[in-house]
Symmetry: C2
């Protein structure tokens, strides 16, 4: 059940980074912090609508466009285009969850090859990992910007497996998002759901092969497996 995969492909936003810190950026521009959660859900909503209709757009383009309406009723403390840029850049300025750096180090020490796959930009991934000194643990950073589709479209995971030269069945997708676990399983990958807060896994998505409470927990499980 926890047999070691050849390679682990990690999601980035919210799986590695703590997106709850985005709320502070909204407050900095004069907006309610709770808009951050609505914004992130809406960016994925529109990105997935494109995915479901065979289209695509850069994450930052979707994120910026949705701020126009979200910020419209807000009395901002700076010009709107400046506020939008500050918020979109926020994804690259988030802290990592406390278990991420030690967990990645343990995974690498256990001989697991590491790669990321994000619906965002590779530049965001490196900006998040470099300050923690763990960027060098990865073989590749991949973005759906170069893939045929966003996650959870099957083409994104298959493209990642191909880019890594690994069979889908030897690749384990690790993510906090049930939709990501669901999509990866549909594409033939092994899957692990990171559940840091004892959440409920939705019944309408394919369940994960493995469920862990942190990346250090994952490293322990794979080393023991």
């Amino acid at each position: 059940m926890s047999e070691r995969p050849e390679m682990v492909v990690l999601d980035v936003n919210e799986t590695l980074s703590d997106t709850s810190a985005l709320a502070g950026r909204f407050e900095e521009v004069g907006a309610p912090g709770h808009l951050a959660a609505t914004w992130f859900a809406a960016v994925l909503r529109d990105g997935f609508a494109l995915t479901a209709t065979g289209g695509s757009a850069p994450f930052a383009t979707v994120a910026a466009a949705l701020l126009d309406d979200l910020l419209a009723p807000v009395r901002l403390t700076r010009p709107v285009e400046e506020a939008k840029a500050f918020l979109v850049e926020g994804f690259a300025g988030l802290p990592l969850h406390p278990d991420v750096a030690p967990g990645l180090t343990d995974l690498a020490a256990a001989g697991v090859r590491l790669v990321t796959l994000t619906n965002g930009a590779v530049a965001t991934t490196t900006a998040l990992l470099a300050p923690a000194g763990v960027d060098g643990l990865f073989e590749h950073h991949l973005s759906v910007a170069d893939a045929p589709t966003w996650k959870p479209g099957a083409g994104s995971y298959r493209w990642a497996a191909e880019r890594c030269g690994v069979a889908a069945a030897d690749l384990m997708l690790v993510a906090v998002h049930p939709w990501d676990v669901h999509g990866a399983r549909g594409a033939g990958l092994r899957t692990c759901w990171v559940d840091r807060d004892a959440r409920t896994y939705p019944s309408y998505f394919t369940p994960p092969g493995l469920r862990v409470s942190s990346l250090t927990d994952l490293a322990r499980r794979l080393a023991a497996g």
Copy 2:
């Protein structure tokens, strides 16, 4: 440009109903009203993730499941399952936007055949329309629960056209959601974006054939066209 279509297919949630009233239900169960916007965006996010991977689930199932995590940190004024049911039922208890009843009446008077197509349930549609006395203006109420896919998957609109015995090109999708306009256009329908609040149409979605400020505006434009 505003040539009259043979039939108009209306989206339901937020296009006919005023979903901003959902906030009051959250407050009634002891939760912050702003959770309503995050919830609705997340329901569509997960529904579209299923659509993008060839799956489907009832709207109410997705809506109820997502409340588990959203309500977890809240000190509710009633048992959680009761609160969840009250919130999910909220979609059927919303007021219509003020332009809806007169707009539908005008459209029907202009000889336009009317139908609805929702990602929710038909029971929700009739519960919303009946109190305003406009339910009888419609030939059918359709739900993606009976279709091969949720909107914005092309199969949902094509299924609706077939069910109505109308060519896709003679059918006009009317919705407030850009993702709905985008999906309908991709399936060959004519499209109309209802923009009640001078919002910004995202550049990454196919633009609407027609843009109106209300359903009464739509009726005027089609009668003049």
